[in-house]
């Protein structure tokens, strides 16, 4: 039980929020409303999964929002060049994979701090997206493609079904696989992990590539939902994703974190945002609340666990 106290606190906050919302704004907690509002969260949720793995190894990926933009633009430009739409989608995911792999090579092989590498590619990938698309929006995708972003499967939105599947895969990978154990070991002590014969570099390459590929998938869903591909999509997304993961209890110093916590972190941020926007119709207030929530959550976390900080 004690192991899961952070998840309990998040769950408690989430329930409290929904109860308050149910009392003050009954319309907000209706399933139909919630399903409608959920369309805003899936890309963020998908990106939070690989980010959890990366932060557990004490790494970070700031480039996810820009990678999304690059993949969306690739999707749009290839479609304009009369490539079949599903092949375009596959190319977008592959672009993401390649972008993530480049991050991975710099982190694992060149041994540069991931903050620096992905800060560089944060600029570079969006720059390339702007350069090749000249900043113009591309639209006019077929209806069959819009289905993956807007359609439902058994009453559930398709992006939600994809996320649920991905969350289970990532959860199992992290908590039940050899690679999952290796991620925690790397986050605790990378040097020791290397000496124990863990393929540290290969695992890093894998998780950064995975992060890129998920950004590609998120881009496909985003374009399908909005029917537009432009180089400015996903701007600032990296910060939302990191906020959700850290709020979910993953330590920014590595070695600690779970997919369940990340899912709750994503939900809490999403519901807080949507409620503030529903009740006060005020986007500025959302920023203040989310920023304060992040600092408060980590502050409480450090105070309660009395985590010894390595300085």
């Amino acid at each position: 039980m004690k192991r899961y106290w952070h998840e309990f606190i998040l769950g408690g906050l989430l329930v409290a929020l929904l109860v308050v919302a149910g009392v003050t704004d009954a319309g907000f907690v209706k399933p139909a409303t919630q399903l409608e509002l959920s369309t805003h969260v899936w890309e963020l949720a998908l990106l939070a999964l690989p980010m959890t793995l990366i932060i557990i190894t004490a790494g970070i990926d700031l480039s996810v929002g820009s990678t999304m933009a690059l993949c969306a633009v690739v999707l749009g430009l290839t479609y304009e060049a009369h490539v079949p739409i599903w092949l375009c989608a596959a190319l977008a995911v592959l672009t993401g994979l390649a972008a993530g792999a480049l991050n991975g090579v710099f982190v694992a092989k060149v041994r540069v701090h991931p903050l620096i590498v992905t800060l560089a590619t944060l600029s570079a990938y969006r720059g390339i997206a702007e350069g090749i698309s000249l900043g113009r929006p591309i639209s006019g995708f077929p209806d069959s493609f819009a289905w993956i972003g807007q359609g439902t499967l058994g009453g559930f939105p398709i992006p939600g079904v994809i996320f649920a599947g991905a969350a289970i895969v990532f959860g199992v990978l992290l908590s039940r696989s050899v690679i999952g154990r290796a991620l925690y070991a790397m986050g605790h002590n990378e040097t020791a992990s290397r000496y124990s014969g863990l393929p540290v570099d290969r695992i890093k390459l894998l998780i950064y590539s995975l992060s890129g590929a998920m950004a590609g998938l998120a881009a496909v869903l985003f374009v399908a939902r909005r029917n537009t591909a432009k180089a400015d999509i996903g701007a600032g997304m990296e910060l939302d994703v990191i906020t959700a993961v850290v709020l979910g209890g993953t330590s920014i110093f590595g070695g600690r974190g779970r997919i369940l916590g990340t899912v709750l972190g994503v939900l809490l941020i999403h519901e807080t945002r949507e409620f503030v926007s529903w009740r006060w119709n005020n986007d500025e207030l959302i920023l203040v609340v989310v920023g304060a929530l992040l600092i408060a959550a980590v502050l409480i976390n450090t105070v309660v666990t009395g985590l010894k900080r390595t300085e």
């Binding site: 970070i60 710099f106 060149v110 041994r111 540069v112 701090h113 903050l115 620096i116 590498v117 800060l119 560089a120 590619t121 944060l122 600029s123 570079a124 990938y125 969006r126 720059g127 390339i128 702007e130 350069g131 000249l134 900043g135 910060l239 990191i242 906020t243 850290v246 920014i252 110093f253 005020n282 986007d283 500025e284 207030l285 959302i286 920023l287 203040v288 609340v289 989310v290 920023g291 304060a292 992040l294 600092i295 980590v298 502050l299 450090t302 105070v303 985590l307 900080r309 300085e311």
Partner: protein, 324 residues
């Protein structure tokens, strides 16, 4: 020990020489293609564009030297721009310019202090604290401005943005002063040496009796203060204050500091390097325009700036490997 220090110094210097060479090369090539690039007006414009980066970069260099990070500068600048506007315009509070500026600088330093306090006493990682601030301060700014632009800035405030002293813009004098002061602080004062000491080996620094906590509080507060300085000399260049001032500035400054050779893990780096990094990245857009490669080239600015960091880290990597 002495040998390693000498080797490190040479390496750090080499980065600065490399940057300087790249800067000179860029300027020479662009001038050869388009001589207007080196006209007095264009040089002034490019330098003025670099002012916020240079001033804030001084503070951030110290923060990164202690092994911490601050990514809240852009949002803080947005907030301080709104605050200085609201305090001094007659439409709002209409305080005297000097009082408005002083309060703005105080607020900047206070936010920096809060960052530092949460990092040192609250033990929240600096990337989290300043990420939270980045988000929250942007929201506070938008709430304060309420979607309206602030217009009718008083003449005194406008002077800080566009006025000249001895033929040179006030903002350039201010940036020069900040850079010189930062260099002196880093190289000639015990405080500067302590900041390096804390970054290169916090444990040893603590055992030597240095208060790591107080030094970190100082560098965060200094950075907040410098964001205030950068705000009051750069924002009044225009006659209106709109929302969205400083968006993305944190990334520009962090990039410039890192390209300038400051190690992200602390203890190594110089103000001169940061200044060169700011100049190099700051002129990319102008260079793209002056190269006459067509309007569309401007879209590649981000890609080129990102490419600079990757090249810088690759050069570092191979320089290190050769030495080993």
């Amino acid at each position: 020990m002495k040998k390693t220090r000498q080797a490190l110094q040479v390496l750090a210097q080499r980065r600065e020489y490399g940057l300087l060479a790249l800067l000179v090369l860029t300027v020479t090539v662009v001038t050869a293609i388009n001589p207007v690039f080196l006209s007095a007006t264009n040089i002034r414009d490019m330098l003025v564009q670099c002012v916020p980066g240079a001033i804030i970069g001084c503070g951030l260099t110290f923060v990164i030297l202690t092994g911490e990070i601050d990514i809240s500068m852009g949002s803080l600048m947005g907030l301080l721009a709104a605050v200085v506007g609201l305090l001094t315009t007659s439409e709002h509070l209409g305080l005297p310019v000097a009082a408005g500026v002083a309060l703005t600088l105080l607020l900047g330093a206070s936010v920096g202090f809060i960052n530092g306090f949460l990092v040192t006493v609250g033990r929240v990682p600096s990337i989290i604290v300043t990420l939270g601030m980045l988000t929250a301060l942007r929201g506070v700014t938008d709430l304060l401005m309420g979607g309206q632009w602030i217009t009718g800035l008083p003449a005194g405030l406008r002077f800080l943005g566009v006025g000249t002293v001895a033929g040179v813009r006030v903002s350039l004098w201010t940036a020069a002063l900040a850079v010189v002061a930062a260099i002196l602080l880093a190289r000639e004062t015990p405080l500067g040496r302590r900041i390096y000491a804390v970054g290169s080996n916090p444990q040893a620094a603590r055992m030597a009796g240095l208060s790591v906590r107080r030094l970190k509080l100082f560098v965060f507060t200094l950075t907040g203060f410098l964001v205030g300085v950068a705000t009051v000399v750069s924002v009044p260049q225009l006659s209106t204050i709109e929302s969205g001032i400083g968006v993305g500035l944190e990334l520009f400054v962090v990039t410039a500091v890192v390209v300038g050779g400051t190690s992200i893990s602390g203890g190594k780096g110089t103000i001169i390097g940061t200044l060169l990094g700011v100049l190099l990245l700051g002129i990319v857009r102008t260079v793209l325009i002056f190269l006459n490669l067509g309007v569309h080239m401007v879209y590649w600015e981000g890609a080129i700036q990102g490419g600079f960091i990757l090249v810088a880290v690759l050069v570092d990597h191979f320089a290190r490997r050769r030495e080993e």
